[in-house]
């Protein structure tokens, strides 16, 4: 009887260990956006990035409120929301995808690992397939992801005569998220 109980305890412990998936998350990640041209500085920061990732599957999600991008002045912010992003219609931008090399990551060991992302980026209600690469730094079992990629503004149905003139064609998006 005691053996049976013991083996059951062991077994249940094992099945926990085998299938344990850890979700790392943050609500204070940072995304910087830069579409500056020689004529004008068009840059903003969002410090309220919501991101989650699963260690085993490499599944990863980033979500940002467009209205929480902060520009140098409020007027630019108003124009960004009203004329370009139409944030009352499309309040969020999202990335849903996978870290394709998740199996090479060891979350228990400190170090820096190159990571590749593959997924769908939704901005202004338009979905586009995106691949990007970045670096995952693990320190004390807490991963930090940083990466940089470019998006063509017109690919997302965002229009305006200033794009390609005062505003760059391509926006540089840099991500820095520290997970817990």
């Amino acid at each position: 009887m005691k053996k049976a109980i013991l083996s059951l305890i062991l077994f249940s412990g094992m099945c926990f260990q085998l299938h344990a998936q850890k979700i790392y998350s943050t609500k204070t990640g940072q995304i910087k956006f830069n579409a500056s041209s020689p004529l004008e500085k068009v840059a903003a920061v969002n410090d309220q990035v919501d991101s989650k990732m699963v260690d085993k599957t490499g599944q990863i999600v980033f979500s940002v409120l467009i209205k929480s991008f902060r520009f140098e002045n409020q007027l630019m912010e108003d124009h960004f929301n009203e004329n370009y992003m139409e944030s009352s219609k499309f309040p969020k931008a999202e990335f849903r995808g996978y870290i394709t090399n998740a199996s090479t990551l060891n979350f228990a060991k400190d170090g820096k690992y190159p990571v590749n992302f593959d997924g769908t980026l939704t901005i202004h209600g338009v979905q586009q397939k995106v691949t990007a690469s970045g670096i995952m730094a693990i320190e004390g079992a807490k991963p930090t992801i940083s990466g940089l990629f470019k998006v063509k503004i017109k690919d997302y149905g965002i229009t305006g005569s200033y794009i390609g003139n005062k505003i760059a064609d391509e926006a540089e998006i840099s991500v820095n998220c520290k997970y817990e």
């Binding site: 059951l8 299938h19 599944q59 409020q74 219609k89 999202e94 849903r96």
Partner: protein
């Protein structure tokens, strides 16, 4: 014996419990955690639990002559130059009004996102003015559902024009006039906004006893979006007791967004630009063609940069 049975029962219970835990552990992990589904749920929750403040009810801090519900952002200095030409009906000799000008030059500054102050100087009656505008309520959707935005604005005006000499002593306070306004506005969708502006203009001194010191009026204004960059605007003040020889101000114009600032072009029957002069001393009438072409231009300077964007 009883103890033995109890032991068996206890152990049986324990085993059942362990099997249960094990089964739920399997169940939880058999299907992988799906972040995409979690995100969908999160989005639904956010839509209900987050408050989304309605922005850009109007395009700039002035509707045409009067205050709009919008404020200058925190740390931003706005240099405003408002210009009204002469009346269109003044004939070819005055080049249909373009030979003459009435103007106001002013500086507005946002102390916080809710509080704006400003000073200005108008050529009409050589007046200085100073004002503050404070947001009380902001239109929003989501967790807090606020149908309207409300602000208050208060302006003090000092007239420095030399009057005719009079037999009684003139005090400094006799040159001061005030305007107090409540701004109530709502944005209906992306295309249309409306504002109501109950106003009280106070004259410290009036010409005769019959004229009240406090003059009440109700302002109305709208913005209609014509395209991404062009908006049609209109402004009208109904006065309870118009001063003799003066009329209600009616203005129509366009707000044109040009990158960093908004350019306003309009036709108005008011000559003066501050609250006292345009609300209570509008001398022109539209039906006579006594209408001024005018424009407001503004240039913003970022004085205090936001911490996060350095």
């Amino acid at each position: 014996m009883k103890l033995f049975v109890r032991m068996i029962r206890f152990q049986g219970g324990l085993i059942a419990l362990l099997i249960g835990i094990c089964a739920t552990a399997f169940k939880a992990n058999a299907q992988n955690v799906d972040l995409f589904k979690m995100q969908d749920e999160q989005n639904k929750k956010d839509a209900k639990e987050k408050t989304d403040i309605t922005t850009s009810i109007f395009k700039t801090t002035r509707l045409i002559n009067g205050q709009s519900i919008e404020n200058t952002g925190a740390g931003i200095l706005d240099l405003k130059i408002s210009h009204r030409f002469g009346t269109v009906n003044s004939g070819a000799y005055n080049f249909y009004g373009l030979d003459q000008a009435s103007m106001r030059i002013g500086l507005d500054y946002g102390i916080t996102d809710r509080l704006e102050i400003g000073v200005g100087r108008s050529t009409y009656n050589k007046e200085f003015d100073g004002f503050f505008k404070l947001r009380i309520l902001r239109q929003s959707t989501g967790k807090v559902n606020m149908p309207i935005s409300i602000s208050i604005a208060s302006t003090a005006m000092l007239s420095t024009i030399k009057g005719p000499s009079v037999s009684y002593p003139i005090n400094f306070s006799d040159h001061l006039n005030f305007a107090n306004q409540v701004l109530i506005a709502r944005k209906f969708g992306d295309y249309f906004s409306f504002q109501l502006t109950p106003t009280m203009v106070h004259y410290n001194i009036v010409a005769t006893k019959a004229i009240p010191n406090d003059l009440y009026s109700l302002g109305t204004g709208f913005r209609l979006r014509l395209s991404k960059r062009v908006n049609l605007t209109g402004e009208y003040y109904y006065q309870q007791h118009p001063l003799q020889g003066y009329h209600n101000p009616v203005s129509l114009g366009f707000d044109i967004e040009t990158g960093g600032h908004v350019f306003q072009l309009h036709f108005t029957n008011s000559t003066g630009i501050n609250e006292r002069s345009f609300i209570t001393q509008t001398d022109g009438r539209w039906q006579n063609g006594a209408v001024h072409f005018g424009f407001n231009i503004s240039r913003v300077f970022t004085i205090v940069k936001r911490k996060s964007v350095k």
